[in-house]
């Protein structure tokens, strides 16, 4: 089966389970969002998929291949990861950072980027709107700009599987939409995209599947309309909300209750 298939992942630390019995499938050509409050286990689960965290049970397969059993070098050519925040003490330019995405393809003694490397990196920086920043030093950028550079780096790996942890958390709305548009294009071109998101409406707008987590367990898994229900929001996030459906589609829209009033669609406001 193509795409990412995760079965029964369990990650333990300090005597307790950070993630338990996690199973879901992220289809190729689609975008899958991991939802859940802080501490739900989204980052841990992503780490387990990448082989960065030790698992006591479960398996991870991508296009039928056991992802965790691959050599790091082979895995890097298949799968790219964008962290929530990436800081470095090194003096690297934006282009240098993006060029890191080509490391899996470069030879040991290759001391300079090849023509292909240059072309791919230029294209990725352009896609993220970061071409003008190419010679700027990475650590002088804002959080949002750094996130976009990291994404350019990930795309430069030309991965079939893209994993992203809160890739839009520091971006303004325009940049968020641009980034999600880009990811969707990549997905439609054949990649598998899995990303952790906080914004439920954006998740519903862009993603084909939503996977909701709470306290290390997956509590819902399916298309946005099926997953986003007031009951789930209460259970997972502890918030009261009304779910509207955009007329003419099955796209759900989450409207949160304010502390002082419940949202009522009949009132004007």
């Amino acid at each position: 089966m193509s795409g990412l298939v995760v079965e029964g992942i369990e990650v333990r630390a300090g005597g307790r389970a950070l993630v338990a019995g996690a199973s879901f499938a992220a289809p190729a050509g689609g975008m899958t969002a991991l939802l859940g409050p802080n501490g739900a286990g989204k980052s841990t689960l992503l780490g387990a998929v990448l082989g960065q965290r030790r698992i006591v049970a479960g398996s991870v397969a991508f296009d039928g291949v056991d992802l965790r059993a691959l050599r790091p070098a082979d895995r890097a050519r298949l799968c790219a990861f964008v962290e929530q925040t990436a800081v470095t003490a090194e003096r690297l330019t934006v282009r240098d950072v993006a060029m890191l995405g080509r490391v899996p393809f470069q030879g040991t003694w290759q001391s300079a980027p090849s023509a292909t490397d240059d072309a791919v990196v230029s294209a990725c920086l352009d896609d993220l709107g970061m071409t003008a920043f190419s010679s700027r030093l990475y650590h002088t950028l804002s959080g949002g700009e750094q996130q976009r550079v990291q994404m350019a780096r990930a795309l430069a790996q030309e991965p079939k599987l893209l994993l992203l942890d809160e890739p839009t958390s520091h971006l303004d709305i325009e940049a968020q939409l641009l980034t999600l548009d880009l990811l969707r294009r990549r997905a439609r071109a054949g990649s598998t995209v899995v990303l952790a998101l906080h914004d439920l409406n954006l998740a519903a707008r862009y993603c084909d599947r939503l996977v909701a987590m709470k306290s290390g367990r997956i509590v819902a898994d399916g298309p946005p309309a099926a997953v986003l229900t007031p009951a789930l929001l209460l259970e997972v996030y502890g918030v009261h909300a009304t779910i509207l459906t955009v007329p003419g589609s099955d796209l759900p829209l989450v409207v949160y209750d304010r502390a002082d009033s419940t949202f009522s669609p009949t009132k004007s406001g």
Binding site: L50, P72, F81, A86, V103, T108, S111
Partner: protein, 337 residues
């Protein structure tokens, strides 16, 4: 850096290195004409039939100055390389080759051997001492819950302090007369009396360790954002880390055994080169070696000629130059940032 400017930079550095070697051999307390000096060297190399120098002066050039100059080159390259690696491995810009207790351990080993009467075997004592300290530091890091960079540094500081205290105790307890001077000169770092055997050791150390380290340039680049990021770029971080640590420790151990704890080269040279070249390690590592070699060559030449007929330990000169240089570099960093 564009390809053409990279090539120019390499050519310039190699050129400067060669010119430096030619010049450094000519300097020294004994008054020997430059042309004679080099003719004598070529004679030893079998390129010239007649040796223009009489026996003693020839010995000064061939047995003293030339091996010392070459030792300085190799040592500077090795220390700069080791320093660069330590700075990126521990993600700490203040790291130097001696961070994991290597120099304190070596000092302890050397002093033990010296006070036991085996002054000529000090290099072996130093080498054993540095490896011993490293093993201890890694064990302690493991005890703290696994050898991560910050734990390794902490453990190294701890072991270094221990070794220093032990060394001070030994010195205070047993040193007499002349041995104070020997120990001090060793602690400061000195290439005094370096002969062909020392040059051979330096070359061997470099030959064994430098290629391994240079080959990890790709991996070091990937380390910029930490272990996990490097792993996701396909680097086997555990293997890389242990390989680099072993190679760096071995290299530093050999250098410390021969020259003592020569400071500032491994700290300052990587920063200086980074200011020009940036953090691309496939470029930074070889360039640091070249710059380190040239730097050490000149500081050692100064140490052995400036106060003729006295000889200073080279570590004093590297400190005198290195400390203000480091300050300048820090100021430039601030302005750029």
């Amino acid at each position: 850096m564009a390809r053409s400017s990279r090539l120019t930079a390499y050519l310039a550095l190699w050129g400067l290195l060669l010119v430096s070697v030619v010049a450094a051999v000519v300097f020294g307390p004994a008054d020997i004409a430059p042309l004679d000096a080099w003719t004598a060297i070529f004679h030893h190399l079998g390129l010239v039939a007649e040796n223009p120098l009489p026996l003693m002066r020839d010995s000064i050039i061939w047995d003293l100055r030339l091996p010392r100059v070459l030792s300085a080159l190799g040592m500077g390259a090795a220390l700069a390389l080791a320093g660069t690696v330590m700075q990126v491995m521990t993600r700490n810009p203040l790291a130097d080759p001696y961070l994991l207790g290597l120099s304190s351990g070596a000092a302890l080993g050397a002093v033990l051997f010296l006070l036991a009467g085996a002054a000529l075997l000090m290099p072996i004592g130093a080498f054993l001492g540095s490896l011993g300290a490293l093993a201890l530091a890694l064990s302690v890091a493991h005890l703290l819950g696994g050898a991560t960079p910050s734990r390794a540094i902490l453990a190294g500081i701890c072991i270094a302090a221990l070794a220093s205290a032990a060394t001070s105790l030994l010195i205070f307890w047993s040193a007499t007369g002349g041995s104070y001077r020997e120990i001090l000169s060793w602690l400061m770092g000195s290439l005094g009396g370096a002969g062909w055997a020392d040059t051979g050791m330096v070359a061997l150390g470099l030959l064994l360790c430098a290629p391994v380290i240079l080959a990890s340039g790709r991996g070091l680049d990937a380390f910029a954002f930490g272990d996990d990021a490097a792993a996701s770029l396909g680097i086997d971080i555990v293997r890389l880390r242990w390989t680099l640590l072993a190679a760096t420790a071995l290299l530093t151990g050999v250098m410390v055994a021969i020259g003592g704890a020569i400071g500032f080269v491994g700290l300052v040279v990587p920063h200086a080169v980074r200011l020009v070249v940036g953090s691309r390690h496939r470029l930074l590592l070889p360039m640091s070696m070249l710059v380190g070699a040239i730097f050490m060559l000149w500081t050692d030449t100064a140490a052995r000629t400036l106060f003729d007929p006295r000889e200073l330990p080279v570590g004093i000169v590297t400190a005198l130059i290195g400390a203000p240089a480091f300050l300048l570099i820090l100021l430039r960093y601030r302005r750029i940032t």
